[in-house]
C-alpha cells in the first residue's frame, strides 16, 4: 500500500470542513426525504439492497483503508449476520432492531475469529486465508440451510413460510428504505467516530509502521482485533438489513465468490473515500438492476461487470470515488482560479 493520503485526516481549513459537512448532511436529509417518493417500486427495492451492501462495502473498506488488510470473507459474515437476525426474529419474536443488533454482534464474533490469523499475516496470505474462511462459511450456511420460515430457533418450515417481520417504524418499502438509509448513516457515524478517535490514530500508526506503533505503546493486537470485530459487526448489520428487505435469505446466495466481488467492487468504488462504499453498493445492485430493466441478458451483465472491473483496476487505483474527487478538484481549480489548495 503506497503512501495514500487518507481523506479523513488531511489538515484543512475548519470553515471549509464545517461547510462541507453541512452540505453533506443536507444532501443526506434530502435523499432520505425525497428519494423514496421518487423511485418506482422496482428501484425502491433495488436501492434497499444497495444500501445494505453499501454497509457491507464499508466493512471491507474499513479494514483496507485503515489497516491495509484485505478480507475476502465479508460477504460470508454478511450471511452469518443475516442468518442470526432471521433466526432471532423467527425464534423469539423480538423487535427488528434487536434482531439486527444480535445479527451484528454474532457476525462481529465471527469477524474476530476471521481476524485472528491476521495477527500473523498480511497481504496476499491474509487475503487467501480469509477467502478460505469464506469458503468454509459458505459450506456451513448451505449445509445448515437458512431458516426458511419455520417456527422456533432452528425450525425449518413444513408449511407456509413466515417472512421476517419488518421494523414497527418501517413496514412499507418506502419507510424501510428510509430506515436503511438512517442505519447506513449511523454506521458511517460509528466508523467516523472510530477514525477520528483513538482507534483511528492507532490504526494509522500500525499501518504506517508496526515497529513505530509498538515503540509508541500502541497495543497492536488489540487494535487489529478491534478492527476485524467492528468490520464483522458492520457486515452483520448489512446482512440483517438485507434479510428484512426481502423477508428471507437464500442459502446459496453467500458463496465465497461474492466476497471476492464485494472486495473488488469496493476497490473500484474507492476504498479510501467515504463515497466509495456507496458507489460499490450501487454497482453491486443498481447496475445489474438497470441492465435487467432493459432486458439485457444477464450474462452480458456479467461480462460488462468483469470488463469494467478490469478497466478500473488498471486505470484508477483510487477507485471511482477518487476519479470523482479528481474531477471535482479540477473543476474547483478552474472556477476558483486558485492553485493547489483544491481540497
Amino acid at each position: 500500500m503506497a503512501e495514500q493520503a487518507l481523506a479523513y485526516s488531511l489538515p484543512v481549513d475548519t470553515r471549509t470542513v464545517r461547510l462541507k459537512w453541512m452540505v453533506a448532511a443536507l444532501v443526506a436529509l434530502a435523499a432520505i426525504a425525497v428519494l423514496p417518493e421518487v423511485l418506482s417500486n422496482y428501484w425502491l427495492r433495488t436501492f434497499i439492497s444497495a444500501t445494505a451492501l453499501a454497509i457491507g462495502s464499508l466493512s471491507v473498506s474499513l479494514l483496507f483503508a485503515q489497516l491495509g488488510m484485505v478480507s475476502l470473507a465479508q460477504y460470508g459474515l454478511l450471511g452469518v449476520g443475516g442468518w442470526f437476525a432471521l433466526r432471532i426474529s423467527h425464534g423469539f419474536g423480538v423487535p427488528f432492531e434487536l434482531a439486527l443488533l444480535t445479527g451484528g454482534i454474532v457476525a462481529a464474533a465471527f469477524g474476530l475469529v476471521v481476524g485472528l490469523p491476521a495477527l500473523r499475516m498480511r497481504g496476499l496470505y491474509l487475503a487467501i486465508i480469509t477467502l478460505m474462511m469464506a469458503g468454509a462459511i459458505q459450506v456451513l450456511i448451505s449445509a445448515f440451510g437458512f431458516p426458511d420460515g419455520g417456527a422456533g430457533f432452528l425450525g425449518k418450515s413444513t408449511a407456509a413460510r413466515i417472512m421476517m417481520a419488518r421494523p414497527h417504524l418501517a413496514p412499507t418499502d418506502e419507510a424501510y428504505f428510509r430506515y436503511a438509509m438512517v442505519v447506513l448513516a449511523l454506521c458511517y457515524g460509528v466508523v467516523f467516530l472510530h477514525v477520528r478517535g483513538r482507534p483511528g490514530r492507532a490504526w494509522a500508526m500500525i499501518r504506517r509502521s508496526e515497529v513505530c506503533a509498538l515503540a509508541g505503546g500502541v497495543h497492536i493486537v488489540a487494535y487489529k482485533v478491534w478492527a476485524f470485530t467492528l468490520s464483522g459487526f458492520l457486515a452483520g448489520i448489512a446482512g440483517g438489513l438485507l434479510a428484512g428487505g426481502v423477508g428471507q435469505l437464500d442459502g446459496s446466495a453467500f458463496p465465497a465468490s461474492q466476497s471476492i466481488l464485494l472486495f473488488a467492487l469496493t476497490i473500484v468504488g474507492g476504498a479510501y473515500s467515504w463515497m466509495g462504499p456507496i458507489i460499490a453498493g450501487l454497482m453491486l445492485r443498481a447496475f445489474p438492476a438497470l441492465l435487467n430493466d432493459f432486458h439485457v441478458d444477464g450474462n452480458i451483465a456479467t461480462i460488462v461487470f468483469g470488463a469494467g472491473l478490469l478497466h478500473s483496476l488498471m486505470t484508477a487505483p483510487q477507485g471511482m470515488a477518487g476519479q470523482i474527487q479528481d474531477v471535482a478538484a479540477a473543476l474547483r481549480k478552474r472556477f476558483a482560479g486558485k492553485s493547489g489548495a483544491g481540497r
Binding site: S40, G145, A159
Partner: protein, 422 residues
Amino acid sequence: MRWKSALLTLAAVTIAAGMSVGHAHADTAKCGLSNGKTAAGDPIIIGGIVSVTGPDNFSSSGLAAAAYFKCLNANGGINGRPVKYVLEDDAWNPEQSSQLAAKLIRDQGAVALVGNMSFVDCGANQGIYEKEDIMVIAGVGVPRDCFFQKNYAPTNAGPRVSNTKAIMDLARTYPDKIKRVVCIAPNIPNVGEWSCTGAVSWIKTKGGDGKIITFDPGSLDATSIVLEAMAFKPDAISVGTPKGLAVPIFAAAEEQGLADKVHWTGPASLYNLDFPHAIGKYWDGKVTVDMELKAADGNTPDMNNWLAVMDQYGQKSDPRDTFSQAGYLAARVTAETLLKIDPAKIDRKSVTAALRSVKKFESDILCAPWYVGDGPRHNANHTGPVAQVKGGKLVSKGECIDAQDPELDDLHAYEKTIGISH
C-alpha cells in the same frame, strides 16, 4: 449461430418428425376466441417471473405463456383487449425476484402473474403476493413454498409428487422387488429433503424402507454420493436433482457399472430432450423419468394445439419440454377465465376472484382436471404418466399414476368437495 439453439432446433424437429404421420402441427393454433382478429383495445397487463441467468435456464414455461398470449392477441384477445405479457428474469436471486415482483405488481399494475418458473420466486415474493392479493398461475413450482401458498397455483406437480410417482411406477413394474429406496436431492432445505420425503413415506406405508441423501450442489464428488446411496443396499434409486446435477451422478453410476444392479429413476426435472443423449447409450432402457403431463407426441387435440402455438408464435429455440406444456396450460386457463369477466371490469380484484373460482379445467395434456379453488394451498396436478429412456428419447409408458403421498390428504379431501375424483 449458438450451439444451444442448433441443438434445440434439432430436438424440436425430431419431435415433429416423430409425431404420427402427416398430422397436427400443420393446423392453425387456436387460442381464446380463435377469430383471427388482432386485438386492439386497452391492454391487460400480465406478468411472469422466470430464472434464466444462473445455474440453469428455467424459462420454458414463461416462453410458452408468451407464445400463447401472442396467439391470443392475434385471435381477438380478451374480448377485444390484448394481453401485454411482461416476462422478467430473476437470475436465481431472491433480491432480484422481489424487485421484479414489485415492478410487475406495483409499478406496472399487473392483474395476474402467469407462467412463473423460478426456484426463488415462491419464497421471496409470498409476502407481496398475499399483500396485494394477486394470483400467480405458475407454470412450474419447485420449492415447497410454491405448493403451500394461498396465491400460488402451479400447473405442474412438483418434485415431491414427481419423486413419489417415479418410485410408485417402479414398484408397479417390479412387484415385490422394490423394498428399499434411496432418494438423492440437493441440500436446499425447502427443496431437497422435502421433495424426497413423499417417496420415502410412501414406500414405508408399503412396508419398505427409504433413505434420503442430500448433497451440496457445489460438491464435485458425484462418486461418493453414488457410493453412499449403494451403501444402503437399495432396490431403487431416484435421482431427484435438476438435470445438470443429475448427469454427473449418472456418469458416476455408469463408471461403477450400477445400471443393472439397481433400478434408476428420476422426477420430471430430468424430463428434458437433451437428457437421454447426455447420459448416453449405457442407460438405454434402464432409467425411468416421471412426467407431470402427458407426452408431447400424443397427437391429441390440445397437445397438438400447444405445439402449433409454439411453432407459430414461439421461437425455434424455445424448448418444447414438459415445463413448456405447463406454461401453455397456465396461459390457457388464465385466458379462458378472463374471457368470462366483463372486459370493462378487468382489474386485479376481479381477476383474483375469477381465478380462485376455477374448479375444473380440463385438457388432454393433463391426466386429471386441474383447479385453483379457494384453499390455503394449491397442488392440483398430482397425476401423470412415467416415461422411459429408450433409443435416445424419452418414451411415455402411457398409464396415468396418481401420487399417494400422505401429505396430499388435505387436497384429496378438498377435491372430493368440488367433485374431482381420481
